[in-house]
Amino acid sequence: MTRRQIHLAAHFPGVNNTTVWTDPSAGSQIDFSSFEYFARTAERGFFDYLFLAEGLRLREHRGQLHDLDVAGRPNTLSILSALAAVTEHIGLVGTLNTTFNEPYELARQLGTLDLLSNGRAGWNAVTSSDAFHGANFRRGGYLDHADRYVRASEFAALSKALWSSWRDDAIVADAETGAFLRDDAIARVRHESRLFDVDAVFDVPRSPQGRPVIVQAGDSPDGRDFATDHADVIFSLHTEFSDAQQFYRDVKGRLAARGRDEDSLKILPAATFVLGDTAEDARERSREIALQQVRPQTAITYLEQIWNRDLSGYDPEGPLPDVEPDTGVETAQGFAGRHAAIRDRVGQLREQAAAENLTIRELVIRLTAKHTFVGTPEHVASEIDRYVQERATDGFTVVGHVTPHGLDEFTDRVVPLLQERGSYRRSYDEGATLHDLLGLPPVDASAAGAASAPVPAATR
């Protein structure tokens, strides 16, 4: 019996404290050479796709720019387009916001990337409603929180209608008769709702994979609904084995009701790793890396974001602050999801610290720098394989901690072991699209939006 095949995505290190810039080997996070190196390494390791996060405003802490972590990154679509020119096989997936974009424009940009890469484009669709990020955009933070996923879902449906509005054989280019397009080449796409009023004729031809792959990353019930309606991949945070299995069953179980096959949605949680020649060696390295990821000032700043007050007088190697959090005005901006129920959160942290006898820094290491897989290459390979064979995931989104070399060791030492197990590809198929690499069903060309009608040809 053939083994279930492992799918791997390569996450370019981001702008959080898990990306170590103090390491002597850490390179530029913005020079193109870093991206090119990372992409070539991922392609050498036969990854399904390269993944980029997005940030639409520089993060702030207590009213000032956050200055401890890596800051500054490229525009997602532009850097992926440049990478399309220096790679041949690997998928190119970027995070792009459904709140601060318009469907026609984003669909044509993703359609462009899909054509330039010969069918290797993907879109991690995320939502936002906050005024902090909105302050950089024409409409500002206009969207009610409750409407985030309404807009995201309509955005995705409208994008899919645009991507399928061109027939595969739309271009005839008959020099003799002068017909460039066939008469029913393109369907008009109408979408009228509370949030959109679009009457569009798309201007990007269909790509080799029909449309870009759609990735989803939210964990809320709305997020799971969006995923089962629209996504091809879920980028989850469920990495503990039994929790991952439970999430996997829940999401896959929802697909049948949507008329979807279990294999049409892949689940690829984020995973970090630390390798060593022995288990002990790996544990030591993990410890060293964690101490680089959470430096004393990082630990205090992290707690300040939760407590919402100045904690600079506290010893990072000492116990948790004895003051209560300030639940008034938010002072930390651009850090994902920490402002709900501040007091509950502080209570939980105090319990955890007391139960495990943790200092401030140790606690923050537990929260932000706990490595998913730590051990010898054999151990890490066997764990990854176990998760996939036992249906806890379809694979992982591997997150390195150093730019741009964070993938080197995994590629050189773990990938060959996965290949030996027969669970991982030994080459790319020529001309494979990202849909093909992920083992997704082909996109149905007849799925053009129900609201579409062919654009009539003019009588001339």
């Binding site: 810039w21 103090t22 913005i30 020079d31 193109f32 639409l56 520089l58 000032q64 720019l65 956050h66 200055d67 800051a71 500054g72 990154r73 490229p74 525009n75 679509l77 532009s78 850097i79 387009s81 440049a82 020119a85 220096v86 601060f100 318009e102 026609y104 424009e105 044509r108 462009t112 990337l113 054509l115 890469s117 302050a135 950089n136 955009f137 024409r138 500002g140 739309a170 271009i171 280019a173 020099a175 017909a179 460039f180 397009l181 066939r182 008469d183 080449a185 979408h191 959109f196 679009v198 009457d199 004729v201 201007d203 990007v204 430096r295 000032q297 654009v455 009539p456 003019a458 001339r460």
Partner: protein, 396 residues
């Protein structure tokens, strides 16, 4: 010693003639393929041209105000986003400036600005943009966000007689301003990586742009660190007074369309304006169709015109490479900085430019040689400016 100028090229689909896709040298089924554009860009790069512009629009019918632009089936259709196409071409070219077209009415200025900064990083200092003001009714319907806007040129043909067009140029000015401010928002040395203090960033050297205009506002600093050119090159195409004023106020380089060499002087007078940090570079457009003999060129031209007549503001040169060089020489004597050639057919006329026009122009001593300057901005003789925010601090 004759005056010397730069040569640039304007890339668009199968070429600037609407019937070009029907020629046997055309590749009409590849107009949105990566191989086609890679080949065009490499030809332009290999020829030593200063820059290539890439056309764009946000509707199937292009920038046309004709109501049937989206439904007619006899024109080459289908496009790639020009900013992303330029980014794709960055790693496969070495010296060529990459200048995509961007419309200013719809895209988020923040996305556009960071996209151009990223193009500048990926190309190591060769990014530019050609800003296009306003939108067509088709573009507005595709976006479904703003109902009002220009419906075409007014009967007078003058932009100043249409409030919607004037408004579009004011908005374009705001987009240009935000591109500049975001490009300046990180000072060159904002990333400090200071192990001692544990700081990656010197927050005093990163500045919120706090732009508030008539059409939009942008608050924060760019997400992209300062790029090799500092500021990507802003360009515009101008045919008349309001666009000339826009270019003089907001562009580094302007493309103009003199009917002949004699018309250059008047245009330069109109472009002259007092308050600029650095000179405005002026390039004249020529639409060219090049064959080995004038007779052949005329035959091709007549065939194309029979199939679909071309309308253009640019001067058209149909003839041999020597004829094109002669036109360039005549323009050069009038005090311009460069000539942008619009190939009537792609790839045929671009290949003729690379193989015959450029070498002959160089032999005639009218081309500026590549001086090895590291960025596009410096190649056109414009200095790399310090961040405006840095200068304010020095002055304070």
């Amino acid at each position: 010693m004759p005056d010397r100028i730069h040569l640039a090229v304007a890339l668009d689909g199968a070429g600037w003639h609407p019937a070009a896709w029907r020629e046997t040298t055309a590749r009409p089924t590849e107009l949105t393929s990566p191989a086609y554009w890679r080949a065009l860009a490499r030809t332009a790069d290999g020829a030593g041209l200063l820059l290539a512009t890439i056309e764009d629009a946000l509707s199937l019918g292009g920038r046309s105000f004709e109501p049937d632009a989206e439904t007619r089936r006899d024109r080459a259709r289908g496009r790639l986003d020009a900013v992303l196409l330029a980014s794709f071409l960055a790693p496969v070219t070495r010296r060529l400036g990459l200048v995509p077209t961007a419309t200013t009415a719809h895209p988020e200025p923040f996305h556009l600005a960071t996209g151009l900064q990223t193009l500048d990083h990926a190309s190591r200092g060769r990014a530019g943009v050609r800003l296009v003001a306003g939108s067509t009714p088709q573009e507005r319907a595709n976006f479904g966000r703003r109902a009002d806007g220009p419906t075409g040129l007014p009967a007078s043909g003058r932009v100043e007689d249409d409030p919607a067009l004037l408004s579009a140029f004011r908005e374009a000015g705001e987009v240009a301003e935000v591109i500049r401010r975001l490009a300046d928002s990180w000072e060159d040395d904002a990333i400090v990586r200071d192990l001692e203090s544990g700081k990656f960033l010197d927050r005093e050297r990163v500045h919120n742009v706090d732009f508030e205009g008539e059409f939009f506002s942008v608050t924060g600093a760019s997400i992209v660190p300062r790029s090799p050119q500092g500021r990507p090159l802003v360009t515009a195409l101008a045919h008349q007074s309001v666009p000339y004023r826009f270019a003089a106020e907001h562009a580094d380089l302007v493309f103009v369309t003199p009917a002949d060499a004699g018309a250059v002087g008047g245009i330069l007078d109109e472009l002259a304006s007092g308050e600029r940090e650095e000179p405005l570079r002026v390039f004249a457009d020529l639409l060219v169709l090049v064959e080995e003999t004038r007779t052949e060129a005329a035959a091709v031209w007549n065939r194309l015109q029979d199939r679909a007549p071309l309308t253009t503001d640019a001067r058209v040169v149909v003839g041999t490479a020597d004829d094109v060089v002669e036109e360039i020489r005549a323009l050069t004597a009038q005090g311009i900085d460069g000539v942008r050639l619009r190939p009537a057919r792609l790839p045929a006329d671009l290949e003729a430019i690379a193989d015959r026009v450029v070498p002959r122009a160089a032999a005639a001593g009218i081309l500026l040689p590549d001086d090895g300057a590291p960025t596009l901005r410096e190649r056109v003789g414009l200095p790399r400016l310090a961040s405006r925010y840095a200068r304010q601090e020095v002055g304070a």
